[in-house]
C-alpha cells in the first residue's frame, strides 16, 4: 500500500471519528495490510507536514491524535456561530439618544428624564459597542460618571458631529410629517418604505428649506 493512500485513510479516519484516535485504533483499520505501529507513526508525521499550509493541524492529546482548526483562523471560524442580532429595546434606544442629546450626562440624569432606572446592562452594552464612553466624573457625592457618545457612534449614523443630529424642531416636524406613528403597523410599514425610497435625508432637506 502506498504511503499516500495510508495518509489519506488516516486523514479521513481522524476527520470521521470526531474524537482523538490512538495509533492502535488506526492500526486496526489496516488489519488486512498488516501495517506496524511504526508505519502508522511515520504516516502521521508526514501528514503533519502536509498540514503546514492548510487550515487544520494535527495535534496529539492524551487519548490520541486529532485534527483541529488552526488557532490563527479562530477569528474567522468563530463567526460561524454568530447569533442573529436582536433588536435593541426601547429602554436601550432611549438611553443612547438621551446620552447623545444631553451629554455629558450621568445615569441619574437619564433616569430623571426617563422616569425609570437605567439598568447596568444597558450601560454595559452601549460601552461594549463603543457608542458611549465616560467623559469624566461629576464632583458630587458618589462621583457619578458622565457619559458621552463616541466618534464611533457618529460614524455609525454617518454624522460628522453631534450638531448634525436632527434638531428638536426637526423632530417635531417629523411628527407632523409622519402622523402614522399610532396607526396600524401595516400602514406604518408602508410609509416607512416610502420614506426609505425617498431618502431620509432629502426629507430633512425639505423640512429645512420650508422653515
Amino acid at each position: 500500500m502506498e504511503i499516500k493512500q495510508i495518509k489519506n485513510i488516516i486523514e479521513a479516519a481522524l476527520l470521521a471519528a470526531g474524537e482523538p484516535v490512538s495509533i492502535k485504533r488506526l492500526q486496526k483499520l489496516f488489519s488486512e495490510q498488516e501495517l506496524t505501529h511504526n508505519d502508522i507513526a511515520k504516516a502521521i508525521e508526514q501528514l503533519n507536514q502536509d498540514f503546514t499550509d492548510r487550515g487544520i493541524e494535527l495535534i496529539e492529546v492524551a487519548s490520541g491524535f486529532r485534527l483541529q482548526t488552526k488557532t490563527q483562523l479562530q477569528p474567522w471560524i468563530s463567526k460561524l456561530w454568530e447569533e442573529k442580532p436582536k433588536k435593541y429595546s426601547r429602554a436601550m434606544l432611549e438611553t443612547i439618544v438621551l446620552i447623545a442629546y444631553r451629554q455629558p450626562v450621568t445615569r441619574g440624569e437619564i433616569e430623571d428624564v426617563r422616569g425609570v432606572a437605567v439598568s447596568s446592562y444597558i450601560i454595559r452594552t452601549l460601552m461594549e459597542r463603543e457608542w458611549i464612553r465616560i467623559l469624566g466624573y461629576r464632583d458630587v457625592p458618589g462621583k457619578p460618571a458622565m457619559f458621552g457618545t463616541t466618534p464611533e457612534f457618529l460614524d455609525y449614523f454617518n454624522l460628522k458631529s453631534l450638531q448634525d443630529l436632527p434638531t428638536l424642531a426637526e423632530i417635531k416636524d417629523i411628527e407632523t410629517l409622519i402622523p402614522e406613528l399610532d396607526l396600524e403597523p401595516k400602514l406604518k410599514n408602508e410609509l416607512e418604505q416610502e420614506i426609505k425610497k425617498e431618502g431620509f435625508l432629502d426629507q430633512f432637506q425639505i423640512i429645512d428649506d420650508e422653515e
Binding site: 479521513a12 476527520l15 470521521a16 487544520i56 495535534i59 486529532r66 485534527l67 483541529q68 482548526t69 488557532t71 479562530q74 471560524i77 468563530s78 456561530w81 454568530e82 447569533e83 442573529k84 442580532p85 433588536k87 435593541y88 426601547r90 434606544l93 432611549e94 443612547i96 439618544v97 438621551l98 447623545a100 442629546y101 444631553r102 451629554q103 455629558p104 430623571d112 428624564v113 426617563r114 422616569g115 459597542r129 465616560i134 467623559l135 469624566g136 466624573y137 461629576r138 464632583d139 462621583k143 460618571a145 458622565m146 458621552g148 455609525y156 449614523f157 458631529s161 453631534l162 450638531q163 436632527p166 434638531t167 428638536l168 423632530i171 417629523i174 411628527e175 406613528l181 416607512e192 420614506i195
Partner: protein, 291 residues
C-alpha cells in the same frame, strides 16, 4: 341457459388466459406466453405453505406479493393470468388466515379484488363509449405498475451514497466555539422615535429644559471633557479657537460655565491678571469606575 353461459365463460377464459388449461398432454406446449411455448410449468409458481411465513415477511403487502407471483411466471405485467394468480393468491390467504397474520386484512382486500376481476372476466366484457373493450384487469395493472415504480425507486435510493454507510462527515475539533454576538442594526429614525417618546413622557419641566438645550454647547462640553481627560491642567485661553468665530467663542464659554456648574473642573489663577487655568476635579474616579 346457465350451462351455456358457463361454456362461454370457459371459452373466454381459455382465450384470454392461454396458460389456464393445465390439463394438456405433456408433449404439447401447455401454455404460450408472449408467443413462447411452455412445455413445463415454471418450477417456482407455487410457494409451499411452510415457506410462506418466511416469504411473506419479505413482502411489502399484497401488491408486492402479487408482483412476485406474476414475475415468477415470467409474465408480462400487462397480461396477468388472472385465474391462476387468483387461485394461488386465495390459497395463500387461507394459510395466512390460519396463521392469524395481522396483515391478513390487506391481503383479503386484494383477494376480493382478484375474485371480482376473475368473475368479471367470466362475463362478456363491456364496451365503453369509444368502442374499446374494457379489460377488468386494467385497474389492477395500473396499481401494480404504480407500485412497481416506487418499489424500484426505493431500491434505487437504497444504493445512493449514504451517510454512515458509504461516507462519513468530516469534522475537526474547534478550540472554542464561543459566541460572537453581532450588535443589532439601529436606524436613526428609531433613535428619533425613542427621543420623541422620552420627551412626551418626561414631565413638562424636564422636557422644556431639554428643548432649551443647544446641541452645540453639549457638543463642546464633551469636547472639553475629552481634552481634560488627557491633560489635567489646561490654559483657559487654549480652549478657544479663533477660527470658530464669535459664535464659537460664545458656545465654548457657555460649555465651560455649564461644566463648572456640574463641578467637573475649577478655574485657577495663580496671580491677579495672570494666566487662567482649568483644573480637572476628577482624577481618582476614572480608574476606579471606568469600566
Amino acid at each position: 341457459m346457465v350451462q351455456k353461459l358457463f361454456e362461454k365463460a370457459k371459452e373466454s377464459l381459455i382465450l384470454s388466459d392461454s396458460k389456464q388449461n393445465i390439463e394438456v398432454q405433456s408433449e404439447l406446449p401447455f401454455a404460450i406466453v408472449e408467443g413462447k411455448p411452455y412445455t413445463q410449468m415454471p418450477t417456482d409458481l407455487y410457494i409451499p405453505p411452510e415457506a410462506l411465513e418466511v416469504i411473506l415477511e419479505a413482502f411489502e403487502g399484497p401488491l408486492d406479493l402479487l408482483l412476485y407471483l406474476i414475475r415468477r411466471q415470467n409474465l408480462n405485467i400487462l397480461d396477468i393470468p388472472i385465474n391462476e394468480i387468483t387461485n394461488q393468491y386465495i390459497e395463500y390467504i387461507n394459510i395466512l388466515g390460519e396463521m392469524n397474520f395481522e396483515l391478513a386484512a390487506e391481503y383479503l382486500v386484494m383477494a376480493a379484488m382478484l375474485a371480482e376481476i376473475k368473475s368479471r372476466m367470466l362475463l362478456p366484457k363491456p364496451i365503453d363509449e369509444e368502442g374499446v373493450e374494457e379489460d377488468p384487469r386494467a385497474e389492477l395493472i395500473r396499481r401494480l405498475q404504480e407500485y412497481e415504480r416506487f418499489k424500484s425507486a426505493a431500491e434505487d435510493i437504497d444504493t445512493l451514497p449514504r451517510e454512515g454507510r458509504d461516507y462519513f462527515l468530516a469534522s475537526a475539533h474547534v478550540i472554542s466555539k464561543q459566541y460572537f454576538v453581532q450588535p443589532p442594526e439601529v436606524d436613526m429614525r428609531e433613535l428619533i422615535m425613542a427621543f420623541k417618546d422620552v420627551l412626551a413622557r418626561a414631565d413638562l419641566k424636564i422636557s422644556h429644559e431639554i428643548e432649551r438645550e443647544v446641541l452645540s454647547v453639549r457638543d463642546k462640553m464633551t469636547h472639553l471633557l475629552d481634552i481634560l481627560r488627557v491633560k489635567k491642567y489646561v490654559s483657559f485661553n487654549a480652549l478657544f479657537d479663533p477660527e470658530e468665530g464669535k459664535q464659537g467663542v460664545v458656545v465654548t464659554f457657555l460649555a465651560v460655565l455649564e461644566l463648572m456648574k456640574s463641578q467637573v473642573f475649577d478655574l485657577v489663577q495663580n496671580e491677579s491678571y495672570g494666566q487662567i487655568y482649568i483644573k480637572s476635579l476628577q482624577d481618582e474616579g476614572e480608574e476606579n469606575n471606568g469600566n
